[in-house]
Symmetry: C2
Subunit: 225 residues, 2 copies
């Protein structure tokens, strides 16, 4: 029996690209932990404090699974994460939330776009890494809390709803800027998007896809994108 | 076969006392989570950020085990925790750390005394609750990190060591003040200390015991208490 040619076999250089994307995912989870923990400290009710601390803890567990995969692939987990230490610095500096609700929306929308990008790029990974990324980023509990909290707050408060819709438009612009900056500075990520695009659609469609997913996410909140 | 008289059977009123102590333990773990997460965000190295986020996540897991026990005993976990929402407010206001090292020491010493108090009071609990409290508070990993980090920083830096020793003396005074305030305002906790003292020593010895444990803890850091 001769070995069959597998079209999804990683190319020689894709090991480093894989570790690059996994480093980005792990960094996003680390930032997510830090934000969720800060949200927990500031949450208006004790129930929300407890719940947000659980989400923060879950981020740690997810991140450590990604770090283990980096080590399995022969990468150095800490260096891989450190590569993206400042990935959201500009985004954070430009999107200081003015209220608890804006803060919730910032995390949901900001991380939502970055995570969608990682999911799209993950199409270019080996099967095991891809499955891990999709599983890690597929956890929607946090989104459900945001949807429930914002839905409850917004019902009957037209002013809040229209302010948050405006805030969401600003956030998506800044988030797409983060993705743009990544594509310019990280050719490895571009290669993964290109490789994944064979099954997933042309790389030119990336921003269209990210915008469409943002619109769906805002729709879940009852907000106009 | 007649039922034997068990001297460790909880008294009628001790159910509420048990829930009170478990609420305090859970609140300390929640505060611990919040501080460890903030420490993680401010840690000087990425390795420390990752490690402190793991400790924060472990606090959530420990706290939720205590909350489950409160529910098992028929208590309301959220109310039990809420009872102690402000337990460390005064302590925190009076012990704002001026450096990363003071911050580490504040958490180690401040929580150390509060946790020692909980361990002593736990002697008055039913066996299952007592075992849970001792197990939850027995996790020394966090202390090990502090010991390693402060030990490395202090070796050869006599000025830092003497500043930290001074800071430690201030912290233990404030921590004992927290315990004092609890004993004055929470007769349920006093009853538990009294019940536990039958095997453990007189309640009058409480502050002596807490001080002795503080001295041991500072000794592990190479600091004079």
């Amino acid at each position: 029996m001769t070995p069959t040619l597998r079209t999804d076999t990683p190319q020689v250089e894709s090991g480093a690209d894989t570790i690059e994307l996994l480093g980005l995912v792990a960094q996003l989870e680390l930032l997510s932990f830090t934000r969720l923990a800060a949200d927990s400290a500031q949450a208006p009710t004790l129930e929300q404090r407890l719940e947000l601390s659980r989400f923060a803890a879950a981020s740690v567990e997810r991140r450590d699974r990604v770090l283990s995969r980096i080590a399995e692939l022969g990468g150095d987990p800490v260096s891989a994460v450190a590569e993206f230490e400042h990935v959201l610095d500009d985004f954070d500096a430009r999107t200081q939330p003015g209220s608890w609700w804006e803060r919730l929306l910032t995390n949901y929308v900001g991380y939502g776009v970055a995570e969608d990008f990682c999911r799209i790029a993950a199409a270019g990974l080996d099967e095991q890494s891809r499955d891990l990324v999709l599983e890690v980023l597929g956890d929607s509990e946090r989104g459900d809390l945001t949807v429930a909290a914002l839905g409850a707050a917004g019902s009957g408060d037209a002013v809040l709803v229209s302010r948050l819709a405006l805030w969401g438009r600003r956030l998506v612009g800044e988030s797409l800027g983060v993705v743009q900056a990544l594509l310019v500075s990280r050719p490895g990520l571009v290669r993964l998007v290109d490789r994944g695009a064979a099954q997933e659609g042309a790389p030119a469609k990336l921003f269209g896809e990210l915008t469409a997913q943002h619109t769906r996410r805002m729709g879940r909140l009852g907000l106009t994108a």
